[in-house]
Amino acid sequence: MSRIAHLIIHRGEKGEIPTLRRYEVPHTPGQSVLDGLRYVRATLDPTLNFRHSCISANSCKECMIVIDGKIGYACMVRLEPREMLLEPLPNKPHLSDLATEIAPPDERLDHVS
């Protein structure tokens, strides 16, 4: 029987009352949480927003979120065949879903316009 990772994900834009949505991702050993998030966008729900650039090389440092209450890189934490709660970083301005404003303040558009 195939195993399933149940991702429970914080949804909503900044200023909105967030909701939690549940997604079922087929689990293969060795996958990362980022693999699970990319699976959700490509097959279940493309409106899910989260940051990443380098895809699992842990170079861009963009995919930092809160996983089961602990801050971590989605590309470094293994996906597991159980319920996993994914939330945006609490200490950064929220943008949408799991995406937060993580750029230094002087590297943002609203700094100049």
Partner: protein, 571 residues
């Protein structure tokens, strides 16, 4: 004029799009010449491109290990390019590279050194001597990015803006005068007026399912340049890195990580019979690392095709003959990272397979990095010509630094002599409308379509191509173009990836078509372009293919290669 109210209007003397090594070098060089620069990146500044992912080698004739001369580096670069290098551009990389590498050393990048203070240089495949500097461990790219970022932060004349996606280069009277885009962070439309524009958006390896670069390498700079009126060149030449990690699954490590291991420890490429096989294809390795990327890729694919591949569809790379203390001495903490992934190199081989890594083709420029559109420059991986049909290991970062600096210098000079001041507003409300309008939800899952496109491009325009596959691919691209429609879906908003996907797909579909049609026209095999229906090199094809837009349609022509005498273009 409601549209205008929602738009952020910016202006600068020089706009640089993309903040890998080329973009950062361009911004620094321009600012040092006294002009105001905006450095924009669709992701975070200095983090989202390919530079930050570079694992090890940066080639330059520094002569630290053994005497060297830039002309020897040039000879190796030209030989690796299989007859398609533009000599002037390749010479710039080789002659000026040492200066930029020394500059980074002065800025304390931390190149690996011997105890006597000399820089360490490794001997990479295709080079005639040890020529490649690096930062331990597997940290070259992050060190280059960090060093350049630190310089940017001290430069008051540079405004850095992340999460800014450029969608159009604005051309007025045939001359580039700025760009349009939108803020990924808040969804606002952005218009940037500039006297000169430098595109440094990197390559296009995201077109391939298995690739070693970031999700940002979508070829959007190629599409921007093409639509602004510039020419593209040699677009069929996509480099596959032969030994990309395949299995077992790793997290938090770059798939090209085995390159440094091979530089330092040799390693053995084995087939399913656990036999070294490169010799069967004319490359004798004997535990050393000498096969160039095109030859190694070709040999691995042939071995898999012959049924002697590994279970996951690649071949084995083994360091089992290397004692544990040697492994630890060479890679210290990386050995622990591997252990956390369940890999013990003393006990097991890993599986590797070719992976899309770099693009030799790109925007056609002159030695000042200007395109044929006045005031539109390009730099870095985006530029064609220096690497011909196959890039030598270690030339990418050097190219990014040299071409970036030169593009920044030339753009600043142009901005200072510009006939008119930077206009306040460069775009009409009509031009901005697609960026501001709210439309319906997309008819398709665009993230899913990107995945589908990646599979298609890998299938038909991967390391092995033929006319039938390419023609089928082109048909499928046409269907996908219709499917995504003419306007971006949804509405502008904070971090809306559906809109980002749409703009990415728009570029990716254009660039995929250019690659497939170029690959279809080139009826020979050369370097990274291998046709199974035309398996031999054809000397009559020792020519570039040039692509441009003519009345909205792609036009293809051939141009001779200037690979003879190197003109004195260097200052």
């Amino acid at each position: 004029m409601k549209t205008r109210a929602k738009t952020a209007d910016l202006n600068a003397d020089v706009l640089v799009a993309g903040s890998g090594a080329a973009g950062m070098a361009a911004a620094l060089a321009a600012a040092e010449r006294g002009v105001r620069v905006i450095l924009a990146d669709r992701s975070l500044i200095g983090r989202g491109g390919a530079t930050v992912m570079a694992q090890m080698t940066v080639a330059a004739a520094l002569g630290e290990e053994v005497p060297d001369h830039w002309e020897a580096h040039l000879a190796d670069t030209m030989a690796a390019g299989r007859g398609l290098c533009e000599a002037d551009l390749a010479a710039l990389v080789c002659e000026e590279g040492p200066r930029d590498i020394r500059q980074l050393d002065e800025w304390n990048i931390g190149w690996a050194r011997r105890s006597d203070g000399r820089l360490r240089q490794v001997h990479a495949p295709g080079h005639d001597r040890p020529r490649c500097v690096y930062v331990d461990f597997l940290a070259t790219g992050p060190a280059v990015s960090k060093t350049l970022r630190a310089r940017l932060q001290r430069q008051q004349r540079i405004t850095r803006i992340g999460d800014l996606y450029i969608t159009d280069v604005v051309v007025r009277d045939g001359t580039a005068c700025g760009a349009l885009g939108f803020s990924v962070a808040d969804g606002r439309a952005v218009a940037i007026a500039a006297s000169a524009v430098v595109l440094a958006t990197g390559g296009l390896t995201r077109l391939y399912g298995r690739n070693s670069a970031s999700a940002n390498m979508t070829g959007n700079g190629h599409a921007l340049a093409l639509q602004a009126g510039a020419e593209l060149m040699d677009m069929e030449f996509v480099q596959f890195f032969p030994i990309g990690h395949l299995a077992p699954r790793l997290v938090g490590m770059d798939p090209i990580m085995w390159d440094p291991f091979r530089y330092k420890l040799g390693g053995r490429l084995l087939n399913s019979e656990k036999r070294e096989f490169l010799n069967d294809y004319g490359v004798e390795e004997r535990g050393r690392y000498v096969a160039t990327r095109d030859h190694a890729t070709h040999s691995i694919l042939k071995e898999v095709e012959a049924g002697r591949g590994s279970p996951a569809g690649g071949v084995y790379l083994s360091f089992q003959h290397v004692p544990e203390n040697k492994l630890r001495e060479a890679f210290g903490p990386v050995i622990d990272r591997l252990a956390r992934n369940g890999i013990d190199l003393t006990k097991m081989p890993v599986e590797v397979a070719p992976i899309a890594h770099y693009h030799m083709g790109g925007v056609r420029v002159d030695p000042t990095m200007e395109t044929r559109v006045p005031n539109l420059f390009a730099a870095g991986e985006l530029v064609a010509g220096a690497n011909g049909a196959n890039r030598l290991s270690g030339n990418a970062i050097t190219e990014a630094l040299v071409f970036g600096r030169r593009a920044g210098e030339a753009a600043a000079t142009r901005a200072k002599t510009a006939a008119s001041a930077v206009p306040n507003e460069i775009a009409s409300p009509e031009q901005l409308e697609p960026l501001c309008a709210s439309t319906g939800d997309p008819a398709h899952n665009l993230a899913g379509m990107i995945l589908e496109l990646q599979g298609l491009v890998a299938d038909v325009a991967g390391p092995s191509r033929n006319e039938k596959g390419l023609e089928q691919g082109l048909l499928k691209l046409a269907q996908m173009r219709v499917a995504i429609g003419e306007v971006p879906p949804g509405r502008p908003g904070p971090y809306n990836l559906v809109r980002v996907d749409w703009f990415d797909l728009r570029s990716m579909l254009i660039v995929a078509e250019v690659i497939m049609r170029s690959a279809c026209l080139r009826t020979e095999s050369r370097g990274a372009h291998q046709r199974d229906d035309f398996p031999l090199l054809d000397n009559s094809w020792a020519q570039h293919q040039i692509v441009s837009l003519r009345d909205g349609a792609l036009a293809f022509e051939r141009a001779p290669v200037a690979n003879g005498e190197v003109a004195k273009v260097s200052s």
